[in-house]
Symmetry: C2
């Protein structure tokens, strides 16, 4: 535990190669540490200037009065081994290496990496990278990304893997498009030391982490990975994006991180056995993570849907089976209550198309009657509203869902915002998600997330 | 031809049930006609008030001095037959019926519908609906939707089907999120008269329409549909969303429009034989339509990719095979030119990961060298850049792509904007798409669209 904690919550950090020049990685790392409000000691190391971003520099690690707990080595690859030797001499225990050009670029780089790692291993230094974009930790008020970030909201989702996306573009995306927060993010880079198994082990026990997302191109110790997935998935949902599903993909992996992708079938089997949730891309990972972050998992696979449009019902029904979900017929009392929001001549089905009710009685009444009834139905475990974001469906959706949750906190809630006006869409998404109700742009994406939740939940029961 | 033209470009239109009350369908239809700038004669019919939205009303169709070419019958279902009889007496030839509650709600409604349609057939009146949300036509400056719309940009995509989504939420979405325009939109509703075959026949010959998107829950005359798909697909790409892929989906269809969904296998075979492009959802339809609207189709299946991130390369490679695309190795001269934007030690592959080049030489130089070389390579037909929308990759992307298109107008161009900052993302999307370069949020969605273009293009060659 303690081993990796330092990468996320060090008491002190040195940025070797701290720079005054915006755009340089050595500038960005320091700027991110400051932006996140880090409260520990910060040591910018730069032999040529006295001060960087308002902080007094030191010419070298060796010239520091104290040994920092963590070193971020923002140096060209050729200078990395020398720095590692200095770290070894001084007793530094944790180093992040952002530089690329090691085992990610073939034999010459592989030799360089071996040289660096021999020094680290000998000295017992734990290394993240090389080729690591860095870490983020909201509870540690800390970020070492070499890509410019804004301070992130605190949440319970942790993300890590063999990609810089989590510590860069996806972090920015979550911060500006989504309405949930994160706990920890790590880019493993070439995994010369710290790998998926280490992070999974650490986050499995991390009290700040409730949901885990992993991107991997291939793990080295598959047996340990399987046993960790099994252990961690028993308590926390683990979303796994494993690339290399095709021969072309596996060739691309070899030239990206030099990893052996392994047979895709092995990973599929692994998911089945361990209860980890396989996702196809980052979009699916975030879709599932959002629901898991915001809502309780469903107590069964019964879904009740109330939709503004018949095509929403049809596309939902088409998708449900693929994700292991069902639409039980409403109980007679439920159907009766749904009908209160509809003209008499409308037959009530699940999914329920309530367009005629919206036209005749207004959106508040039609959705209210339908959703309240669905939430009370004992065979319905997840309650979904499908809206098209048009003026005709304008209403206090978040207020309605809050009252549903108050009455039936045991149900799982989600909302589909199916096309419509962009500005209204963002406003509705923000209002709903800030209140804890995940939104999706299509029925299939919503049901895919609910299906993943249900698969996770159904294993917890045994 | 002339038959359906009137639904999109009438010389005169009567709105029966025109209303002063915002939110009422009879208010919205008239407001849309005015919003779109319709230049023909507009007759609001309302027996109780003198004027609606600034236009003098008439108490009934019969009281009009002239017979309107098109009637939009915004009336409760019970009054529809009476109106149809009036239309028959007066010699009205085209009627849109928005009201639901006909064959969409079972036997009683089906009888009502038959009554209305007997009158129409007898009089030779062509009917769109019942249960039709209406039509849109940009070249006709005309819209009869019962959902509030803003005037739409003119473009070459036409959409129709058994859903109100196109004439409501999707129209608003295209107008506020996308940067292409539409030609015509129609909601077929219950298809008591005009159906998919009629629209496909009409749009196949419509000079304003270059790309067609269809949503259907099941066509009645399959043989005619197949022959029309074959004829139209030979010249224009037809994107078909056919729901009812699962038994649960087919049951939902029965209660939505009462259609018989038919076996899913029949539709898959139909796509194969006719060259129509099957899409899984509205998202895929718009993704493909956007590329087809903006770019020439590729001359082959070779794709060249230049990416800020290795995971972009790997996910692209994983996806390419699924969509019938390939990443040919760059010619030696191409690789040489790509390398100009990279450090010496980086191996050049396709897809090319240029992160190290961006770090060392800047985004302009790294993307510029890579994309120019890819566009010149004879085995590359589609050129794709993958960006993460972060400050580090900030550059004049649209300018670069414009210069590529100028040098090599024979290539197909697309851009992946893979996560990043929301505001930057919208700005980049707008700048690129306004210049005619489609953008996608993931490599898979980009390659899916390019693959659909290639499948269409490859059939044109034979």
């Amino acid at each position: 535990m303690k081993d990796l904690e330092t990468f996320f919550k060090p008491r002190s950090v040195a940025v070797v190669g701290a720079s005054r020049t915006p755009g340089k990685a050595g500038h960005t790392v320091l700027a991110n540490i400051l932006e996140f409000g880090f409260e520990g000691d910060i040591y910018p190391i730069n032999p040529s200037v006295d001060e960087v971003q308002g902080i007094k520099t030191c010419p070298s690690l060796s010239a520091l009065a104290k040994v920092p707990e963590l070193v971020v080595a923002v140096l060209p690859r050729e200078q990395t081994k020398g720095l590692m030797e200095e770290c070894a001499r001084l007793g530094v225990e944790r180093v992040i290496i952002p530089a690329a050009g090691f085992s990610d670029v073939g034999d010459e780089g592989r030799l360089l990496e071996q040289g660096v790692m021999e020094v680290a291993r000998e000295a017992g230094i734990r290394v993240m990278g090389p080729n690591s974009i860095g870490t983020v930790s909201t509870s540690g008020a800390f970020a070492t990304s070499i890509v410019t970030l804004d301070r992130m909201r605190q949440g319970s989702l942790s993300l890590f893997g063999q990609t810089g996306m989590f510590s860069s573009g996806i972090a920015r995306w979550i911060n500006t498009v989504e309405h949930f927060g994160v706990s920890k993010i790590a880019c493993l880079g070439n995994k010369a030391d710290i790998d998926e198994n280490d992070l999974l082990d650490y986050l499995g026990d991390d009290p700040d982490t409730r949901v885990i997302g992993i991107y991997t191109e291939g793990v080295k110790d598959g047996a340990r990975f399987a046993s960790l997935l099994r252990r961690v998935s028993a308590a926390k949902p683990v979303l796994l994006l494993k690339s290399g599903q095709t021969a072309m993909g596996r060739r691309a992996i070899a030239s990206h991180t030099g990893a052996l992708a392994g047979s895709d079938g092995i990973y599929s089997g692994l998911m089945e056995q361990t209860g980890a949730i396989r996702v196809a891309d980052f979009e699916e990972m975030l879709d599932c993570a959002k629901a898991l972050e915001m809502q309780p998992v469903p107590a069964g696979n019964g879904v009740g849907i109330v939709s503004i449009t018949g095509v929403g019902c049809v596309l939902s029904a088409d998708a449900a089976g693929r994700f292991g979900l069902d639409f039980p017929s409403f109980a007679p009392s439920t159907a009766e209550a749904v009908r209160e929001g509809l003209p008499d001549w409308i037959p009530v089905t699940n999914p329920a198309d309530i367009w005629a009710g919206i036209e005749q009685k207004g959106a508040e009444k039609a959705y209210g009657a339908g959703l309240r009834a669905a939430a009370e139905d004992p065979s319905i475990h997840s309650v979904v509203a499908i809206f098209t974001v048009i003026p005709e469906s304008n209403m206090d959706v978040a207020g309605l869902f809050e009252s549903l949750r108050e009455a039936r906190p045991d149900k799982t809630y989600a909302v589909v915002l199916m096309a419509g006006d962009a500005a209204m869409y963002s406003r509705w998404k923000e209002t709903l998600e800030s209140a804890g109700f995940p939104t999706y742009p299509s029925p299939a994406r919503c049901l895919r997330a609910l299906g993943a939740m249900w698969r996770f939940a159904s294993r917890q029961a045994f």
